[in-house]
Amino acid sequence: MATGQSGSANALQPALIPGGPAQAARPGSATGISPVWGFILRRLLLGIVVLVLVSIVVFVATQALGDPARAILGRSATPASLAALRQQLHLNQPVVTQYLTWAGGLLHGDAGNSLAAQEPVTKLIGDRIVNSAVLVLCAGLISIPLSVAIGSYAALRRDKTFDVVTSLSTLVFAALPEFVVGVSLVVIFATTVFHVLPAVSLIPPGGRPWDNPAGLVLPTLTLVLAVTPYVARIMRASMIEVLESDYVEMARLKGLPERVVITRHALPNALGPTFQVIALNLAYLAGGIIVVEYVFNYAGIGGALRDAVSNHDLPVIQALAMLIAGLYVVLNLLADIATIMVTPKLRTRL
């Protein structure tokens, strides 16, 4: 048996067998057998703990941003206008009170008022969240199947032409910064070479991104080109690992046809990692969207975050940080659960 497996099951371990040694996760040596629900419950609790910690970190970190009144007024700040604005914004309460008020508000879906826009944060970023979600979903729906297909096929054709070509081209694309891809696409399709697609995505207030599908093409394409190489490479590595595993080897030795080996034995086990890849991919897109939204003037959370950071708009930064961090935690949780559910080997270990 390869020694590689013990390390690879590690992340399950704290969740499944509290404090147990890594070997406990090995088939046959598992001691703390618990039902799937126990596992899910534990992951859920851990997720909540992480979220609470995240909220404290977010709150403390944003307090360091300095005086928002000054940041809002910028150069036009005078002592009188500063005092007036501070009064307006109720910035004089103690920090702990501010945290409890804020965290309590969050639980009720109230993220406070934006300091800069002086309207509810939820109103300010609500539409932007939808816009960004649409972009992430479009990019995800294209890039995930695409990269899974490329990665799997490259793994099956390991060291053959397809593998070599894709592995080199993904390397090149992964090395290109997103804005280079974005700006190049604009030059090619919108402003200089062809004039077939809009250069920027203008979503009128109250409108939806899908009202003007043409405006979604270039930003989506940029994200797809940025993410696909990365995920395809992970997918290829995962697939190779599964294909080389003992049970696949065993299935082959038993004389099963290759098609059956792949669909019955390799794929179910490769699906687990795939969920992980999807979760990470979506979480990455939610954060990495900042640059793409900037290039295409896309009214999403990336633009809101950048703007809020430069305005020192604490409630907006806090809400967005919580949103993105929460998304990460939830996606990971879902992926963990999905992995447990679809992976026969892991399920039997529980």
Partner: protein
């Protein structure tokens, strides 16, 4: 009538005397378009002129906005705020294309009766968007709001007006009593941000009820706003567009791309690096206006090493102004002479132009005991070119043996502004006395050079100038003040930058003009421009 009005306009700036000025009414009666008046003023006019046509949605892209965008008839914090304010709100007096005050605004006359008393009379029959007629009460409400809310942009400039001293003389006339003599009230009333709002007005999300050519339909800060034609507008025939849409851009490159790709009809502030791209495009026109904006390097005269006037003089001799214009502005500006307010009738253009003189700078530094000086030069991305000018000046300073470490600090305006020995700032165009009130006396909100030095007679000159109603005598005092700043001041002012905007050839009516706002004040609130 036409010529007479124009002449009056040309003289108004320096001649607000006891004599009542009754101009502007004639233009309204004659139904002349603002465009013809401006043409008569003799500014450059480049666009093709055709008969104005009705219709269409005008789409404008502006950078520099964000969630803190606001809509307020009397306040701005971002560039898109300026573009939005002028759609719905108008001022009592206006600056024309030559940066001269005129009564083409809401007032039929604005008169300084005594050094400390002004009388405002508004035109008859001007209506707000909701049909209410503009009257004296609205003027009093507007001025009270400006004076009592310190967060408003125009608050500091009107400091000499006594809030309790405003009297309604009749339905259209208001008399202002001042706390002391002040000849600059007319200048303040012409600033685009001192808009006239109706009694009870509140900033957005309050109703944006103004007298301007467009009504606000919708507004999302940081994204866009939509405005539709005011059918009841007081200038006959105007405006021409059915709708105006103002769109915020974060990335200047995206803004240019949107114009190139036909998603916009006009944009403000093209990045200098892209001017050639826009010019090369057959369907786009670049509109270059000789602006009076400036990016100074500020030496705080009471902080070492600038307490020694020789060090200040040396630093001023370090600047190679033409090179700075070429490098920082790609040539889109004019060399300046450490003085501001170039469009003021009393601008001291006769003082000799300063040139780079590194040998003289070195010897001044040596005599002040500051050879091989090393210090920090603070800047931030507050306005285009602020970081570049610091870098270029630091490079030039090496020639005089001065090492300047450029510090680019995002919190510059939050934490350090006005407390630094050597820093970069940005200013728009103002006339001399209003600018002094904003940045060059101890009570000014932004006195970054900590001017004037102890023992100087600058302040008494300032008081005299404000009280002086005779324009010739006032100019002499202003000249004396400028000489003091020229010889001992803390500002290094290398240039006045141009405003470089671009628009589609589908749009007619744009003209270059001197002034603070882009796109010829956005086509005077989008009323003197049209598709055709």
């Amino acid at each position: 009538m036409d010529d007479k009005a124009t002449l009056e306009l040309m003289h108004l700036r320096g001649q607000i005397t006891r004599r009542q000025l009754l101009v502007g009414m004639g233009m309204l009666a004659a139904g002349l378009s603002m465009a013809s008046v401006l043409a008569a003023c003799g500014t450059s006019s480049t666009t093709t002129s055709s008969a104005p046509k009705r219709g269409g949605t005008f789409r404008l892209g502006v950078t520099g906005g964000g969630a803190k965008d606001m809509m307020d008839g009397q306040n701005i914090t971002t560039k898109p705020d300026q573009a939005r304010l002028v759609t719905a709100f108008e001022t009592l007096l206006v600056y024309d294309a030559d940066y001269k005050l005129s009564t083409d605004g809401l007032a039929e006359s604005v008169t300084q009766d005594k050094p400390d008393q002004w009388t405002i009379r508004v035109k008859q029959g001007i209506e707000f968007h909701d049909g209410k007629t503009l009257g004296a009460d609205d003027v009093i409400y507007s001025l009270t709001r400006m004076l009592t809310d310190p967060t408003l942009f125009g608050n500091a400039g009107l400091g000499s007006v006594d809030v309790k001293g405003m009297t309604k003389m009749d339905d259209r006339t208001v008399r202002l009593k001042l706390k002391g003599p002040d000849s600059t009230i007319g200048d303040q009333l012409g600033q685009y941000y001192n808009g006239i709002v109706p009694v009870g007005y509140k900033r957005y999300p309050g109703t944006q009820n103004g007298t301007g050519p467009y009504k606000l339909d919708s507004f999302t800060p940081g994204q866009q706003s939509s405005h539709s034609r005011n059918p009841n507008y007081w200038r006959t025939g105007q405006p021409y567009f059915d709708k105006v849409t103002i769109i915020d851009f974060t990335d200047p490159a995206a803004q240019v791309n949107a114009l190139l790709g036909g998603q916009l009809d006009a944009i403000t502030d093209i990045p200098f690096g892209q001017v050639t791209v826009v010019k090369a495009h057959p369907e786009l026109t670049v509109l270059e206006s000789p602006g009076g904006g400036w990016l100074p390097l500020c030496m705080a005269i009471d902080m070492p090493p600038f307490t020694d006037v020789r060090v200040r003089q040396a630093f001023r001799l370090i600047a190679d102004r033409q090179a700075i214009v070429t490098q920082v502005l790609s040539g889109h500006g004019r060399v300046a002479n450490d003085l501001y307010s170039p469009f003021d009738a009393c601008f001291a253009s006769d003082l000799p132009q300063r040139h780079q003189d590194l040998a003289q700078a070195k010897s001044l530094l040596a005599s002040a005991g500051q050879s091989n000086l090393t210090m920090d030069l603070h800047t931030t991305d507050g306005a285009a070119g602020m970081v570049d000018i610091a870098n270029v000046f630091a490079q030039q300073a090496k020639g005089a043996g001065v090492t300047l470490n450029v510090k680019n600090d995002p919190n510059y305006y939050g934490d350090q502004y006005l407390k630094l020995a050597l820093s970069v700032d940005f200013w728009g165009t103002r006339n001399y006395l209003p600018q002094v009130a904003n940045g060059s006396i101890p009570v000014a909100p932004y006195n970054e050079c900590h001017w004037p030095p102890a023992g100087s007679n600058y302040l008494s000159l300032y008081t005299q100038a404000k009280a002086e109603v005779d324009p010739t005598k006032r100019c002499q005092i202003l000249h004396e003040m400028q000489k003091l700043e020229y010889d001992q001041g803390g500002y290094i002012i290398p240039f006045f930058n141009d405003l470089v905007d671009a628009f589609s050839t589908k749009v007619s009516g744009f003209k270059g003009s001197k002034g603070t706002l882009n796109l010829d004040s956005f086509g005077h609130g989008y009323r003197t421009i049209w598709f055709g």
